[in-house]
Amino acid sequence: MSSPSAVTLLVATRKGAWLYHGDAERKTWRVDGPHFLGHIISHLVLDPRDGRTLLAAAKTGHLGPTMFRSTDFGQTWSEAARPPAFAKVEGGVGRSVDHTFWLTPGHASQPGVWYAGTSPQGLFRSEDGGDTWAPCSSINDDPRYLEWMGTAQDGTPDGPKLHSIIVDPRDPMHMYMAMSGGGVHESFDAGRSFAPLIDGLEVVEGFDVTQPTFHDPHCIRQCPANPDRLYQQNHCGIFRLDRPATRWRRIGGGMPAEVGDIGFPMVVHPRDPDTAWVFPMDGTAVWPRTSPGGKPAVFVTRDGGEQWQRQDAGLPAEQAWWTVKRQAMTADTQPSVGLYFGTTSGELWASSDEGAHWHCIARHLPDIYAVEVAERPAT
């Protein structure tokens, strides 16, 4: 880093959002919240291009979805004038957004551009900092993609989700996105058209691996230090893809057999493309989706996925049955990389030494849906 920066954690939960402002050493955290108490916040993200705009994807259990915006880093909020909504179809047969699930700021060269992924699965774009959103109808209403996306009844228990929207830092036209029921897809025209990128991935036994609809990517991350490298935590294991190759390779074989390589989050190192972290969960039998054996642990690879090491110092040694959702684990870019995750039991955990040691920042929050890092110049 050329200049010191302060780390704030943006915590989205089932009952609102919280901001945790870290001190220079990332040892103490000042809590700011709740914001939007009672709202389901699926994602809270900073615009890194201006360092002050925040978007929060919100809904309640009984009202339609919306989007909240702040242009002063969370001091004040206003509601988006036109939240993500599908194109209207005459006859009342069209889809409607249940909730916005994922937010991605656009390319550094395109201030104001944002992308959103929703449930039911759809892609949306804003060109005014998230105030108004337009559906990417060339995908959302494409008959082939509609078939792959399935219906609200398919896949993920609370609705299939379009997630992991990635804009290539070298080219704003080059994007990836993933669908929890529908596979991984790549675009070379800024999201106007996509093509499946699923070779080498696995699906649940008995289903046709060539059909995108049966693919369940959980989280995809692009390495900042090598944008040609993608890591993926999938329903069926951990995978890696090095472009321009198009075939994913399963790299979870080095995980301990009693832990397995199933999970939701995927985190990459800001400067070392060989280093990545996962948070395994129990994906056996009826899919308990808890930490395997009630013993939560992060696993790290330092060699691109050949070998994995357990990192659980400071975490509960037993009888801890929480887990971590797909966008609830992240990293900062500090010289000694900080890692953070939020749990389904409302605990916020941090490590300031790349996962070697963990400590709990907060307890008793609602079910944590997302944790993002906001890094801004230190004041």
């Binding site: 389901i40 309640t60 259990g61 009984h62 009202l63 339609g64 919306t66 509601e79 988006a80 004038a81 939240p83 909504a85 599908f86 194109a87 209207k88 179809v89 009342g92 047969v93 069209g94 889809r95 409607s96 957004v97």
Partner: protein
């Protein structure tokens, strides 16, 4: 017509009561949205369907059709069933 706003939507109106006019229920909701931007989308989806947990009662009778005529002297009660746990 007079409109009774449920608590979950009073962040828009700052009041339990509103007064707007329209020839149909759809127009009344549209008029509400003009006065309180964003409120309609929380109740009506982008396909024009009333959301699952929203109910409209006009003069005591539940109305499921947004095209139903609205009476300027009538009262609209918006009810929102709690959900989400």
């Amino acid at each position: 017509m007079k409109v009774l706003i449920p608590s979950a939507l009073r962040s828009y109106t700052d009041s339990a009561h509103a007064e707007v006019d329209g020839a149909t229920l759809a127009e009344v909701v549209a008029a509400l949205d003009l006065q309180y931007p964003g409120i309609a989308f929380r109740m009506i989806d982008e396909q024009g369907r009333i959301r699952r947990h929203i109910r409209f009662f006009v003069d005591g009778q539940q109305v499921r059709d947004l095209a139903q005529a609205a009476d300027a002297d009538g009262e609209l009660v918006i009810v929102q069933a709690l959900s989400g746990g």
